[in-house]
């Protein structure tokens, strides 16, 4: 019996040691994990800053016992993005927030991959001349190549992880207008091929702009034209003519220039816009670089103009031609700035036309000698100015005169009292 007691007590000692050891280990882990005991829900309304989506209204009152135990962010972190996302989903993290977390994380991952290749931007030196373009676009070819590759990788990765389009997601986040994919109506296979071509085009176009260092001279314009033509020809091989036109009226530089600049004085309908675009694109393709054009460019150009005239109709074609005229655009701007009626614009523009006809007659009149011609032209200018002043008013005319080069082109100075 005594032996049994000794064995049993001995066993107790051993077991007590084991229990003590396990207890200590458990306490250490708990101490590391259990920093949060209670979620300190903020109840001070004075410093309340309302969130966008809000979340459940009553949740601030719930202090979970589960949190009182030992949830810690580390328990959901994972080396693998998929595991991380799964863990976030497992704790009920909203998809929106998961996207925010993962996109930001992936963004930083690639930014840090690219960082070693990036030259730092130099400090601003006020005496350094030239435009600031080169200060911001002075990276190596290797950098830009890596930047593109990483951008593609990033897009792919986020598509795989979250099933989202990175660019769309970022646009949404920043509140940019929802851009419609100009290729979305194409069959998937065609769309992929077209996207490959347009991406390559964008890369080459960026290279040209970068090389130009912000100075777009005629050589650069030639290069850009040639690139646009190449894209058009490549896309024409895989898209139907209407599909191609649908794409180009939404994306090409010609269309953008029409929308934001050239057609400000011409309210084009959709059909008119498409017709004008086609004519302009055809005219651009007649240029062959270095100031040269296709051998029969004049005949082709006339054909395109005739087609456009037919598409717009005689009157609208005239209005279109007028809207492109710098003098007409200046008058429109003056009217906008000074609150003038649009009829005033038309009247002055009409005066310009009449003056130019009169000038033409005087210049071609062989019966006049040089002095007589100069006097006749000066008289036309004086008369025209008088009429324009009466239409615009003295102050507006003074402004307009600064930009009305056509008046100076009639004769360098006026004669007689004004």
């Amino acid at each position: 019996m005594r032996t049994l007691a000794i064995i049993s007590i001995g066993l107790n000692v051993v077991l007590a040691a084991v229990v003590a050891s396990q207890w200590r280990t458990e306490k250490k882990v708990a101490a590391a994990d259990a920093t949060p005991t209670v979620v300190p829900v903020q109840k001070t309304q004075s410093s309340f800053i309302a969130r966008r989506s809000g979340g459940p209204k009553v949740e601030t009152l719930v202090v979970s016992n589960l949190l009182e135990s030992n949830f810690h962010w580390r328990s959901i972190e994972a080396e693998d993005y998929r595991a991380y996302i799964a863990n976030l989903r497992a704790i009920g993290c909203p998809e929106d927030t998961i996207r925010d977390i993962i996109i930001a994380d992936v963004d930083k991952l690639y930014a840090r991959k690219l960082a070693p290749l990036r030259k730092p931007t130099e400090d601003f030196k006020f005496w350094k001349t030239g435009n600031s373009f080169s200060d911001y676009n002075n990276q190596s070819d290797e950098y830009y190549k890596a930047q593109r590759e990483f951008a593609k990788e990033k897009r792919e990765l986020l598509k795989q992880l979250l099933g989202v389009d990175y660019e769309k997601e970022i646009s949404k986040q920043w509140g940019y207008p929802p851009a419609k994919d100009p290729l979305e109506n194409l069959a998937p296979e065609t769309r992929d091929r077209a996207r490959g071509l347009t991406e390559k085009f964008s890369e080459q176009q960026s290279d040209i702009y970068r090389k130009a260092r912000g100075h777009i001279d005629s050589t650069t314009q030639d290069e850009l034209r040639s690139l646009r033509r190449q894209l058009h020809e490549d896309l024409a091989k895989i898209m139907g003519p209407d599909e191609l036109l649908d794409y180009e009226v939404r994306t090409s530089d010609i269309a953008r220039n029409m929308k934001y600049n050239e057609l400000q004085a011409f309210d084009a309908s959709e059909e008119e816009f498409r017709a004008i675009f086609k004519a302009k694109q055809a005219a651009e393709f007649l240029q062959r670089g270095e100031g040269k054009a296709e051998p029969d460019w004049q005949a082709q150009y006339k054909r395109e103009r005739d087609e456009l005239k037919q598409a717009l109709g005689e009157d609208r074609y005239k209005e279109y031609e007028r809207a492109k005229d710098g003098d007409y655009q200046n008058l429109m701007r003056l009217a906008e700035a000074r609150g003038l009626e649009s009829t005033v614009v038309d009247q002055v523009y009409q005066m310009r036309d009449e003056a130019q006809k009169a000038v033409s007659r005087v210049r071609s009149d062989q019966s006049l000698d040089a002095d007589q011609r100069a006097a006749a032209l000066a008289a036309i200018r004086a008369e025209t100015e008088k009429t324009v002043v009466a239409t615009l008013g003295e102050k507006n005319f003074k402004t307009y005169k600064r930009y009305a080069y056509w008046l100076r082109n009639i004769a360098p100075t006026t004669v007689g009292p004004r």
Binding site: I101, G130, P177
Partner: protein
């Protein structure tokens, strides 16, 4: 059966067992009465046996609890065949610790309608600061995205054919929108700073290599003064920008612009020291900005730039461009001012540098410098070409004014001069650069003789 004494003795033994372990128990056993020894031993064995069971059960429980935690952890960490390494893992090794209640935690427990509470809750569960910044920055950005979108109620992005005067015109609603957008951006940045202590969006832009133009310009100022300068700029730009955008400005508009710029400078002077103000002007003023364009190709030193700036600033009004070509008086006044400033510059820079200054005002020289830089060729070639140009222009004058030449002889001489110039330039620049130069800056060649006439020769 225990009597009271035996019981007390046994309780003492148990206490001793707790306090001193086995030796104390042995002592107790020895102290027991002989007659009771057998009974006591049985009782001790019984208690000890119960202790064995109790301790075994406790040890088993602790072990089982640990296994359950590990199992919960592995069920959360879903493995994947195509693993992609996370940023956190790249930088620091993540310690993989979990506990038995993880799977039961729900995100809504940290969600709050109040950003501050949301951040505090995230901190409490050990969410890293970087992740908190990511979550809050995205959330705040989306909050302001709604406000931004509200400024474009009628936006129809697919109406590609509709004209868009956003960036033109004086009374464009876009101007007002831009002001509101700037205000929203400022508000957003302030909110992020209040919540997180920094603006994580700006921080991330910096990490991506993006350098804000104005940050770069105002980098010499403290953050507080940068903000003051930006506020003053915003305040005045709201008045100045519509005037700049007005493409049909008159003298009154220009006077108004100059007046507003003077007021802006005075406002800057109220928050900046004289030295800071000088730096501000050299970096951000209209004159300095124009000079950085005008002097391209001259490459002034810091001192030269400052001195030229001083001269131009003193004569700012006199040097202003005169739009009215018929206003001979104003034109003459401006020309006089230009000549006087140039005379002062000649004295200041010396003959050699002044000649270089004049050369840099020449459009064709500037264009050639750009072409050469683009092709990574030495820009010294542009100086040689400029010499050719000035030499040719002098020769043209001589030929045109030579009364001994007939018209035909004059034409021939000019055509020969152009042909000679073209040959020399082709040799100097190479075919490709010369071909580009002819179209970009080389139009002076046409002033010698028309290309058709030269080709006909």
């Amino acid at each position: 059966v225990f009597d009271s004494e035996n019981r007390r003795e046994l309780q003492g033994c148990i206490r001793s067992l707790n306090e001193s372990g086995l030796l104390a128990v042995e002592g107790c056993v020895k102290r027991g009465g002989e007659s009771q020894r057998a009974m006591n031993t049985r009782a001790i064995v019984l208690i000890s046996f119960l202790g064995n069971i109790g301790l075994l059960a406790l040890a088993f429980h602790l072990k089982a609890a640990r296994s359950s935690a590990l199992s919960a952890e592995s069920s959360l960490a879903v493995s994947s065949a195509s693993s992609s390494t996370r940023l956190a893992a790249v930088e620091t090794k993540v310690e993989f610790v979990t506990n038995d209640v993880t799977a039961e935690f729900r995100w809504r427990q940290v969600e709050s309608r109040d950003y501050k509470a949301y951040i505090a809750n995230l901190r409490t569960i050990g969410c890293p600061e970087e992740t908190i910044r990511d979550i809050i920055a995205a959330d705040v950005t989306k909050l302001y995205a709604q406000k931004r979108r509200a400024l474009y109620p009628d936006l129809k992005p697919d109406e590609y054919w509709k004209k868009d005067p956003s960036w033109r015109g004086v009374n464009s609603p876009e101007l007002e929108r831009q002001t509101k957008l700037r205000a929203l951006d400022k508000e957003k940045s302030a909110l992020l700073k209040e919540l997180l202590g920094i603006d994580p969006i700006k921080e991330r832009q910096k990490e991506n290599g993006y350098v804000d133009y104005w940050d770069r310009i105002y980098g010499f100022l403290s953050e507080e003064k940068q903000q003051q300068v930006r506020d003053i700029s915003d305040q005045f730009d709201q008045k100045i920008q519509p005037l700049y955008r007005m493409q049909m400005r008159d003298e009154d508009d220009e006077k108004e612009i100059r007046k507003l710029l003077r007021e802006k400078l005075a406002a800057m002077a109220s928050v900046l020291s004289p030295q800071e103000l000088e730096q501000y002007e050299l970096r951000a003023s209209q004159i300095a900005t124009q000079m950085r364009y005008d002097l391209d190709g001259f490459e002034p030193t810091q001192q030269e730039f400052q001195e030229i700036y001083k001269l131009r600033k003193q004569r700012e009004e006199d040097l202003a461009y005169v739009y009215d070509q018929d206003d001979n008086e104003a034109q003459a006044k401006r020309k006089k001012a230009v000549d006087e400033v140039e005379e002062q510059l000649k004295n200041m820079l010396g003959e050699q540098r002044f000649a270089e200054y004049k050369r840099a005002q020449d459009y064709s020289y500037k264009e050639l410098v750009r072409l050469l830089e683009r092709d990574n060729l030495p820009t010294l070639l542009a100086a040689k070409v400029h010499e050719w140009k000035t030499g040719s222009e002098d020769a043209v004058k001589r030929i045109r004014n030579d009364p001994s030449l007939t018209q035909e002889q004059r034409n021939e001489a000019l055509q020969a001069l152009r042909a000679e110039a073209e040959d020399a330039l082709t040799r100097q620049l190479g075919e490709k650069v010369f071909s580009n130069y002819r179209r970009n800056g080389g139009s002076w060649l046409n002033n010698i003789a028309s290309p058709r006439e030269v080709r006909r020769r």
